[in-house]
């Protein structure tokens, strides 16, 4: 494996595209394996049955489960970002009222210009812990959420650092991988054995890709509470 830090932007985008692809392929393949495996076992079981009894010759289970897996993967990919936002109880900032919200909108607009991506939709999570995350499937459908706690303690420069970091996730397509992984992990309920593999992996992906915060752009005199969790 290549060292992640040595990859440039396009290589990272490519790597994340590839990983998302294999994640979905693996997810569907697992369900197909369960279904067709079941078909095969049932087929062997009914092989010796009397002539007029039921013989399991057509792999219904496999086809049905594969279709279910495909539909689930597609649905999770499409709705994953909305689910993430919904689960955090975030509210969208459409018409900023107070000064802090206005500043957040301005900072996001600035960083979107710097990154050369469309402005993501902006959300605020009513949580005193300072944190931020990015979600979405591609730069055209992306969201950035920050907690109220982050808005309260960060200076303008610090906020800029955090938002810059989150927009990096959007541009690198980390958000797509996270959406795919989150979706696959959430859909694991359909297959019992997938649970163990799915949970750990998805949780780890979500943790490392979506939730993060740092303030590389902050000044040395930044408030210690904002730099601490960087």
């Amino acid at each position: 494996m290549t060292d992640e830090t040595s990859l440039n932007l396009f290589q990272q985008q490519e790597a994340n595209r590839r990983r998302t692809f294999w994640l979905v392929v693996g997810f569907v393949a697992f369900f197909a394996w369960l279904g067709f495996g079941g078909d095969y076992i049932y087929h062997l079981y009914t092989l010796q049955a009397p002539r007029q009894a039921y013989h399991h010759d057509f792999p219904w289970f496999g086809i049905a489960l594969s279709l279910v897996a495909l539909a689930t993967a597609w649905y999770a990919y499409k709705t994953g970002p909305d689910k993430v936002l919904w689960s955090t109880g975030a509210r969208e900032v459409i018409d900023p009222t107070d000064a802090k919200e206005k500043q957040l909108v301005n900072v996001v607009e600035e960083m979107a210009i710097a990154a050369g991506v469309p402005r993501p939709r902006i959300w605020i999570v009513d949580d005193p812990d300072p944190n931020a995350f990015a979600t979405g499937t591609d730069p055209l459908h992306s969201h950035i959420a920050v907690t109220q706690g982050l808005l309260d303690i960060c200076t303008r420069d610090e906020l800029q650092g955090v938002i810059g970091h989150e927009l990096g996730h959007v541009k690198n397509l980390d958000v797509r991988l996270a959406a795919g992984a989150g979706g696959a992990g959430r859909a694991r309920g359909a297959g019992g054995a997938a649970r163990a593999a799915g949970t750990g992996r998805a949780a780890r992906f979500c943790w490392s890709c979506s939730w993060c915060g740092s303030s590389p752009g902050s000044s040395p005199r930044s408030s210690p509470s904002c730099s601490r969790w960087a």
Partner: protein, 194 residues
Amino acid sequence: MGSLIFLALLVVVVGWLIGAYNGLVSLKNQTLNAFKQIDVQLKRRHDLIPNLVNAVKGAMDFEKSTLEAVIQARNQAVKVNAAGPEAIKQISQAENALSSALSRLMVVVEQYPQLKATANIGQLQEELTSTENKVSFARQLYNDTATQYNTKQQQFPTTLVAGMARAQAADLWAIEDQAERAVPQVDLSMKPKA
């Protein structure tokens, strides 16, 4: 057999030609778009300044020259901007003059806490900071895109197609103000101040 190899080579060469040509055209349009993005932000700045000036005018009767410098620089910038991308040198000169006039005004505003305390001024200051950032980030994006475009037209073998795609080197934004380019004097001797 020979003609087959020739045909394969031809397909490869023509394919590359199309790819290189389209690549250049796409970069050219991206560069133009990035330039327009600067325009959008500059327009925003020009629209914002009259509001700012009106808000501080009453309280700053004694700083007339600073305000007048801002208004003058703004009007000059608006005039030059109408000329379009061909006048990039003059535009950047006028905008840089406006930037320094604005920063002088901001320094003055800082000196009057009761003026700063007015919510309206705080809001305008935030808008101005944001606009200044947007202008510089838009310029950065333009410079990055234009550099990519320039590099592509100069590199071999794409340079062979550059004439066909009517590619021309794009000018970059540069600092015109010599004062801004000067290296700041930093004293790291840690000597206690007398």
